[in-house]
């Protein structure tokens, strides 16, 4: 495996005549926590959607572990180790927190009609293992008190943690987080950051969209910036802070919000 976990080559997404992502070429270093910043409407979420197969790019390529994956479906990419969370969380509302997490593992025997009908010892054992792991992960994200709660009733912050837990079940090698700290109280944000650091230490690569500058500056390196669909900056957090173009793009847009 090379040093580059995920890369894009001139990736472009058009909505009609509007270009939301414009010729973005990015190389995501393995084991890094890369921050992706940019004003609202810059195309960050659209970029994630194109990376994870939820949108077909208009042109350009995506490579995962050096293999071209442009146009693959989200479920196929998840199976190759690429997982994401959503800016607006998408819990399975009328299911328990535990069920939300137990859904995630791949290749569950009992998910097939045959396996579910004639559930054998093997299906049962696998289910027990999945349950065990789900409980451990829910503990890891501090949700163990809520395992039997309806997911639709969690707070915004808890839902973000639930999405993280779901994603962790599959032990993906690359995790894309879309504004994980937005709407989350500082205590939970710290929990989240701690968990991200711990997973990163174990080898997981992260690409994180975030508006919280403290979050970005103290935990992400490198930092990448998008503005109006174009990549306008790539560098260390220190360089980002010193970069006037970036400040103009960011602060200008934020001021006009």
């Amino acid at each position: 495996m090379g040093d580059i976990a995920l890369s894009t080559d001139r990736l472009t997404v058009n909505f009609g005549t509007f270009c939301a992502v414009n010729n973005v070429s990015l190389q995501l270093k393995r084991h890094s926590i890369t921050g992706l910043i940019g004003p609202n409407g810059a195309g960050k979420t659209t970029f994630f959607n194109a990376l994870t197969g939820m949108l077909k790019p208009s042109s350009g390529w995506v490579m995962l572990d050096g293999i071209e994956t442009t146009g693959k479906r989200p479920d196929q990419l998840y199976a190759s180790g690429l997982a994401r969370t959503f800016q607006i969380p998408r819990p399975f509302s009328r299911m328990s927190v535990l069920e939300n997490v137990m859904l995630a593992p791949l290749a569950q025997r009992g998910e097939h009609l045959w396996g579910a009908t004639f559930s054998s010892r093997k299906v049962f054992d696998q289910e027990q293992k999945i349950r065990q792991k789900a409980l451990e992960i829910l503990d890891f994200v501090t949700l163990s008190a809520l395992v039997d709660h309806e997911a639709g009733r969690l707070s915004g912050g808890q839902t973000k943690l639930l999405e993280l837990a779901r994603v962790l079940m599959g032990a993906p090698s690359i995790i894309l987080l879309d504004e994980p700290a937005a709407g989350v109280n500082p205590t939970l944000t710290n929990v989240l950051l701690e968990r991200i650091e711990a997973l990163n230490a174990q080898g997981t690569t992260f690409l994180i969209i975030e508006h919280d500058m403290d979050f970005i500056m103290s935990h992400c390196n490198p930092v990448i910036a998008l503005s109006a669909g174009e990549m306008i900056f790539e560098g260390t957090p220190e360089e980002a802070q010193a970069n006037t173009i970036l400040l103009d793009a960011y602060l200008g847009a934020q001021a006009s919000d």
């Binding site: 994870t52 939820m54 479906r73 989200p74 479920d75 998840y78 199976a79 997982a83 994401r84 959503f86 998408r90 819990p91 399975f92 509302s93 009328r94 299911m95 328990s96 535990l98 069920e99 939300n100 137990m102 859904l103 995630a104 791949l106 569950q108 025997r109 009992g110 998910e111 097939h112 009609l113 396996g115 579910a116 009908t117 559930s119 299906v123 289910e127 027990q128 999945i130 349950r131 409980l135 395992v147 039997d148 309806e150 779901r166 994603v167 599959g170």
Partner: protein, 314 residues
């Protein structure tokens, strides 16, 4: 007295057969969120195919293959599944209201098909003269009906147990996740179209099984049995009972069927003769009013879906 018991046997048999179809719809709508507006077509496919496969040859007609009854019944259910497979491949990309309209269209087309394909389905007159299994051996019709009821209840119980097992397995979790948020499920490696198609086919096979039993019970099937009314009744039963809850589906079926037949009986007994020609219409209005009040005051049904929690199942 024997008259009352005999009527109860009749009532329970029909209710139990309809309950099987309601369980099939519950798998599709309650658990997977697939809006099947053409229940009558899948019920009808099972009914017609069972009679065609198991019946005796009738003059010029195609059909009447005299297949061993249990196989004919299974074949009927499989035909419903085949229809669901074809319809599913074409329509399952559609969401909610569009899927409802498309499947409703399928049911209208199906009714029109059986009404017009006289050479196979007997057209508007339907298919008569089906020889019910073992009927020649059991001379007492009352006894026969009781035996038939037992068989129907046995089938209903098996379908119920089968579905409960599916729903408590990871398969059920997968269906619920697709129902709740397909995009999120796909981002977690699941293949929504495959899951939707599977649930649609299994649910339709169960409806076809109900149709086969229904046609067997009356030894007769005609286009009149597969009109949209049936779809409406099956939906009413599920909504009132509680979508997503199989026990609710059973209770809802018996309740709505009791209201339906009870109101019919009351009208025929107490309503003035001039009003009696409107009996069917009045029944619809009554059931319609029940659905509307239910949706307004208790949309989750009498028995709401239960959250699957960690203590359950083991």
């Amino acid at each position: 007295m024997i008259g009352v018991i005999s009527y109860l046997v009749f009532f329970t048999t029909i209710a139990a057969i309809l309950a099987i179809a309601v369980l099939g719809l519950n798998l599709q709508w309650g658990n997977t969120g697939l809006f099947n507006g053409g229940v009558a077509a899948f019920f009808g496919a099972g009914a017609y195919a069972t009679i065609l496969l198991g019946g005796t040859p009738q003059g010029e007609h195609i059909g009447g293959f005299e297949i061993f009854y249990p196989l004919a019944l299974a074949g009927g259910a499989l035909c419903a599944g085949l229809l669901a497979w074809m319809v599913g491949l074409l329509t399952l990309k559609l969401r909610h209201d569009y899927l409802a309209i498309a499947t409703f269209g399928v049911a209208v087309a199906f009714e029109s098909f059986v009404r017009n394909t006289s050479v196979m389905t007997g057209g508007a007159l339907g298919l008569r003269g089906f020889e019910r299994p073992l009927e020649a051996l059991i001379e007492n019709p009352f006894l026969y009906n009781i035996l038939f009821l037992l068989v129907v209840v046995l089938v209903l119980a098996s379908v119920y147990v089968f579905l409960q097992k599916l729903l408590h397995a990871p398969f059920g979790r997968l269906l619920r996740a697709i129902r709740e948020d397909e995009t999120a499920a796909q981002s977690l490696g699941k293949n929504p179209s495959e899951v939707r198609l599977t649930a649609f086919i299994v649910g339709s096979v169960i409806m076809g099984l109900a149709g086969g039993l229904y046609a067997t019970f009356y030894a007769f099937i005609s286009p009149q049995d597969v009109v949209p009314t049936l779809t409406f009744q099956i939906w009413a039963m599920l909504i009132v009972g509680g979508a997503g809850n199989n026990l609710g589906a059973l209770v809802g079926t018996f309740l709505i069927w009791a209201v339906w037949t009870g109101s019919g009986w009351c009208l025929s007994k107490y309503a003035p003769v001039e009003a009696q020609i409107y009996t069917g219409t009045l029944q619809y209005i009554l059931i319609g009013a029940i659905i509307v009040s239910m949706l307004l005051w208790r949309p989750q049904g009498i028995f709401p879906e239960k959250l699957v929690i960690s203590q359950s199942g083991d």
